[in-house]
Amino acid sequence: MADAATAVAATEMTVEMIKASQLGMKALGAGLAVGLTGIATGIAEMAIGSAAVGATAENKDVFGLVLLLTVIPETIVIFGLVVSLLLLF
């Protein structure tokens, strides 16, 4: 009985519905790509950032350099962003 119901449901799926659901999946994937990589970048920058603040407190000259070191993990989230852009467009 249950099998028959799914069969009916499957036949009722129109092409538009499938397309719409695929679009939704794409959007989900894009969101996950940016969100998860964002979290990863955050974790990575956490340690660098705190060390950078410490180093700057001891010697102000290193500010420029540590600012750069802090943004190095940004690559991760940028890859995520690129993936999501490619997914969406």
Partner: protein, 656 residues
Amino acid sequence: MFTPEGMTRVLIAATKSQMEPVIREMYRQHLFHIEEFVEKDKKEYEGYRIGTPLPAANETSRQLLRLRGINNAFMIHEDEAETGGKQKHGHLKELVERELPSIEQEVEDLLSRRAKLDSQIKEYEQKIDALKPFASVPIDLELLRGFQMFSVFCGYISRNISLDIPHEILMSESKKDRFIVLIVPNQDRSIAEQALQNAQFQAVPVPEETGTAASRIGYYEGQVLAVKGELEEINRRLDEIKKRHKDFFLACNELLTADVEMAEAPLRFATTGESFIVEGWVPTERLETFRQGIHYATGGKVYVYELDQSEVEDVAPTEYHNVSFARPTEMLMDVYSRPRYTEIDPTLLISIIFPIFFGIILGDVGYGAILLVLSLGLQRFLKGDEGQKLLKVLRNASISSIIFGVLFSEFFGFSLPWDPILFSRHLNIGGHAGGHGPDVTSLMIMAIWIGVLQITLGRVLGMVNHARQDHGSHRIKAVMANLGWIMVLWGILAMLWAAFPLPFMPDLTGLPPIVMGLNMGSILGLVLILLGVVFIVRDSALEIVELPTILSHVLSYARLVGVGLSSVAIAMVVNFIAIGLIIEPQLESLTAFGVIIVIMGALVFVIGHLLNTILGMLGGGLQSLRLQYVEFFTKFYKGGGKKYTPFGMKKRFMED
């Protein structure tokens, strides 16, 4: 242009009697970078000792210390000087001898008087504080102490007390606390103490004063006022002195600093009993001027000798030698590391590439214009060399941003009246958005191309650097290894082209297959990769683990598109929220309340774009700088050069 200023290693030797004129002339010319002499136990150093300061050093240092103390007290800073006219050195020297001591004496007297008055005020205020609790007690203070038969308790309690013993009590209550003066016969003292303890008594000592507390407070407050008046007079006189002599103080500071530096210069020389030697670097172009100056100043009694420097070029100080356009970018180089004397100075390349990258990321006419106005406007307020350079870099970057804004057809996220000339970055955001969305694939390919070209350029520069710096068999290996990296990169590209048709890239898929389904392109790519790997391994086998960085570094340039698109997205979202969701619905039927909403919408618009400007500046600046530092510089640049700091100073307040 791509190399630092040429330096020549120079040795000066003379008798000690010539030491002072030589130091004076070196200081005046501001050209000679002294290599400090370090005593060593080696044979060739035998007999040489570090020199002793000139006789004037002690006295001058003392004078300088005194003057700096005064400058600190006045908080005079060099930047606030109005350099009206420069003083003659000789005249200034005379003034330092004749007038400075008396002015300094006056200032020091005033300062010590001020310190004394300050401490007096503190003393009075402490007395007032001690008296305050007794202000409401209408008894003379001397009546509260000195009894033999009675005990007096003064202090705060938390609740009322009742006593069964003979006593005299005075109580004053305020909102915050209760103050009590209790007098009991000595034999009942313990009972009173017990009762007070139950009421959480906190004792207050009776001040050593005569008369009522209120009158004493009045007296001391009068005293404080009088002292404050005197203080004001002193401050006024100090201000007057500061205003009158500020430039004089700064000029004296410069003169004495110069004198101290000159007097202490022999500490960096090598000396024997009767002679001295000093080694250092002079820009090759100015060598003749320097030599003539020394010759003239000493009447030719000094030996100036050019040393062979092929062995020691590594330790030569680096002075940038750039066209004026690239000069501000030197600041970005110093943030990373100054180039070594022997390596290529990429400042000019960065001064061209950095603004372009910034423009690609923040390509918007509106934001570019804001940053341009900001960088031009701040030039008046920001003092200091570094700040000015930074603003000039920002100015170039914002001009590039405007140019790319025109190419991308963007103005605060809106499109300009023409279609994007380069590629479209317009997103479909908002209720009635149309168009085909951003051309992400083309943009990505563009970013990849930029990456491939810049990394190749970096490796080519690496080949040049290794050819110039290395010696022996390592030299050829290192050059070949850099070539190997280029070959692997282009080999991978060739294989990709042979496998997939990509837009804006050569299409090699159509070539006929030769062996095992591989066509000419794939085979060429494969050969390039294999040869490249061999070259790399010959230099250092460990480098193999770095191979994946070829991909990750090239892909890293995708940030040019990614960060740029996110900035466009934020701009369009701000526009949609402010205009599409808040302002437009109200404009359809405007009411009084609607006007407020419209104003709020305008506020959202301004704040949103302000935030995005800051984000864009940070994102565009940091990300494109990072591409230079991490992706580009790691291919060829070592840095760690010594800054060229010639002996002497830039004179601001005096002239010879």
